[in-house]
Amino acid sequence: MDAASWGLVTATFLACFVEMVEATTIVMAMGFTRGWRSALAGTAAALGALVVTTAIAGYALANWLPESALQLVIGGLLLAFGLQWLRKAILRSSGRKAMHDEDQIYLDEVEAARAAGTTGSGLDMFGFMVSFKGVFLEGMEVVFIVITFGLNADNVPVAALGAVGAVVLVLVLAVVLRKPLAMIPENTLKYGVGVLLAAFGTFWAVEGIGVFRSGSESLDWPGADLVLIPLIVGWFLLSRVLIRALRLPAVAPGGARLAAQEVGS
């Protein structure tokens, strides 16, 4: 594999790994409290729905859009995900948003599962639906990341390989450890993936603007693909500047610790 393919696998692996850890926490909470039959059935149904979505969306994007329009759609989607991830990472690193905590999420899910009434015999619909929604929602971003990175590099199989590798690794860890994967440095991983998605999204969305000129020819960045390096560095440096500028003091002058100001959800 060449350097671009390795970059592709790394990006899809990291994005999928983070999302899978979150989905696994939900499925485990349902499995241990509502029963594994409904939790695994919900997971299998969601994975099936994701495969169908990938096939339809991938076919539509690859066959119905001219190259520059594809770049615009791909770039726009990556910016939509990437900038949200980056926003959360900046707010968390500056102390304005609580850190993502898998243990706490697990406890919240378990509490909700216990509070929900029983559904009698047969498949437990609460466990099924929560597992389905958890896996499907977390999986949708991965699906679009795999499709967009894969189509643009003209190598969907390699992009999918990174995602499948992450799924297998998370499943193995979950089966071996039998508890939420709270030891994974999720906040740091999301920060890194956010920077990557923001840089690639910027590159493709701006290139794709060319769809609006006669001939629909993509715009040319100076240095072509090499401009991705300054874009990654630029988004990273901007995030560090914002974290520094927004950082809350840990201790107030009177000695009392300031509560983090929660921004957004």
Binding site: Q84, V206, I209
Partner: protein
Amino acid sequence: MRFLRAFGQFWYDFLVGDDWKIPIAVLATLGVLVSLLLGDVLGDHALTVLGGVLLMVTFSTSLLIDVRAGRRR
């Protein structure tokens, strides 16, 4: 009706997420670039670099607005 609401909510959460100002910032930037492209004001290289810088500026602005609004709450 409930299904339609849930369907709409899903796509809103998926595409817009926690902060609606970010997609607006992206769309505004791309809109400015399209105007400059159609007006034939700048060449490709200048337009792409301007696009990258504008995305960073509008993202920073939306984040700062968010934090200021959080401070007032």
